[in-house]
């Protein structure tokens, strides 16, 4: 295995570990409160975080 391949594996393993930790330590997803599949036309204002919005 080349050094480059090892680095890639470390990167993806770290990301996967972070996502697994995040999933296990965060508030469980409440599927009954699932957001609409398509926001446009749903009547529900977008509520996600965005880099352009400070608050």
């Amino acid at each position: 295995m080349t050094r480059h391949t090892t680095l890639r594996l470390v990167f993806w393993a770290t990301l996967a570990a972070f996502l697994a930790w995040d999933w296990s330590s965060s508030k469980p997803v409440d599927l009954r409160l699932e957001p609409p599949l398509i926001a446009a036309g749903s009547g529900q204002a977008a509520a996600g975080g965005h880099c352009s919005m400070p608050d």
Binding site: S25, A40, C51, P54
Partner: protein, 365 residues
């Protein structure tokens, strides 16, 4: 890994998101995969396009970006006009925007990638960008910790062209401004190229044009599904904030940014519910799929270059938070949804890029 098994893994993950998180997040992950595949497949780099213009007097990359902005605006502004639940990428004109955009433009040349560029190059397996990604996240988080201080230095209310003038006039203003920028870029490339004795380069190059069309369509899909424009930086900061909170490294409950109701709520949810995070992960996956089975062409760096690149990556994250976005969140999403802050961001970041290229050359990148 080859493309077929990798596609199967990505499909399984999409299905798991559909089953365990939400249909919207699964759809946004698929959009992210498309964004990553287009960015990596077409090598659509905002950083590269600006560098080509300044160093080679080659305007094709910038022309592709202008086409992307025009198409995205032509698609987004009517949607914003017709669906009040959709939001524009409205950042406040502020001291932090001026400083952040300049520093971001400078650092993106040293780090060889903006927000989306760092993501797709990390997905392609380029070691420098993969190493920069966690520092970008840390920098974005540190920027969010200090954002209240920076905003106290001076800020105005965000200005949105669609809200001010209606979508029709907002689109006309935006397209006219983009046409003026395209004319100025064409004039500069021709004049500066002739003065430097360079042969004229074509303004229209297939990979940039194809990339622009596909990215505009995917950015619009992101807007329609998520209800907000495509962004990159917020997700990075959230990832680092969650780690900082879990480790007790920072008291986020008393921080101006993280005590805002939406931000505070997101700290307790999985990042897989965050619209920006899920497209970021998708971009990584899409770029990985493009790179599958291909040898990497990354150039090895010496110790000094590594140190400079990593510092630039940290500053990239910090400055993007101050600037209310990177080339995606501020420039593409800002301008295409009519935010004045996007128009302020571009000249400041471009000025920073001019200095960044000098530093880049100095360290032999």
């Amino acid at each position: 890994m080859k493309r077929l098994p990798l596609a199967a893994v990505l499909a399984v993950f999409t299905g798991w998101l559909l089953w365990s998180v939400s249909a919207r997040q699964a759809a946004l992950f698929a959009v992210g995969l498309g964004l990553g595949a287009v960015l990596a497949g077409q090598r659509f780099g905002f950083t590269t396009g600006w560098r080509m213009l300044i160093e080679d007097k080659d305007a094709s990359g910038v022309m592709g970006q202008i086409l992307l902005l025009a198409l995205a605006a032509a698609l987004a502004m009517p949607l914003l006009g017709h669906y009040p639940e959709l939001t524009a990428a409205l950042g406040p004109p502020s001291v932090s925007l001026l400083v952040g955009a300049f520093v971001f433009g400078l650092c993106m040349q040293i780090a060889d990638g903006c927000g989306s560029g760092t993501l797709y190059k990390a997905g392609l397996g380029i070691p420098m960008n993969a190493a920069i990604l966690p520092l970008f996240a840390l920098g974005s988080f540190l920027g969010s910790l200090h954002l209240g201080f920076w905003l106290d230095l001076g800020r105005a209310q965000p200005v949105g062209l669609v809200g001010q003038f209606g979508w029709e006039r907002a689109l006309l203003i935006t397209l006219a401004a983009l046409a003026a920028v395209a004319a100025a870029v064409r004039w500069y490339a021709g004049r500066a190229g002739a003065a430097a004795g360079k042969a004229p380069r074509p303004l229209v190059v297939r990979r940039w044009m194809v990339g622009a069309v596909l990215l505009a369509l995917l950015a619009t899909l992101n807007l329609v599904i998520a209800g907000q424009p495509w962004g990159v930086v917020y997700g990075f900061g959230l990832w680092a904030a969650k780690l900082a909170q879990a480790s007790g490294a920072a008291d986020l409950a008393n921080n101006w940014f993280w005590s805002q109701p939406g931000n505070a709520a997101r700290l307790h949810e999985t990042v897989l519910m965050d619209v920006t995070s899920i497209t970021n992960i998708g971009i990584l996956g899409g770029a990985l799929w493009v790179s599958a089975g291909k040898p990497s062409s990354a150039r090895p760096l010496n110790g000094t270059q590594w140190a400079v690149a990593l510092i630039a990556g940290l500053a990239l994250g910090y400055s993007s938070r101050l600037a209310f976005g990177c080339n995606v969140g501020a420039m593409l999403s800002g301008i295409s949804t009519g935010s004045i802050h996007g128009w302020i961001w571009v000249p400041l970041a471009f000025a920073g890029t001019i200095f960044g290229l000098r530093i880049r050359r100095h360290f032999g990148f």
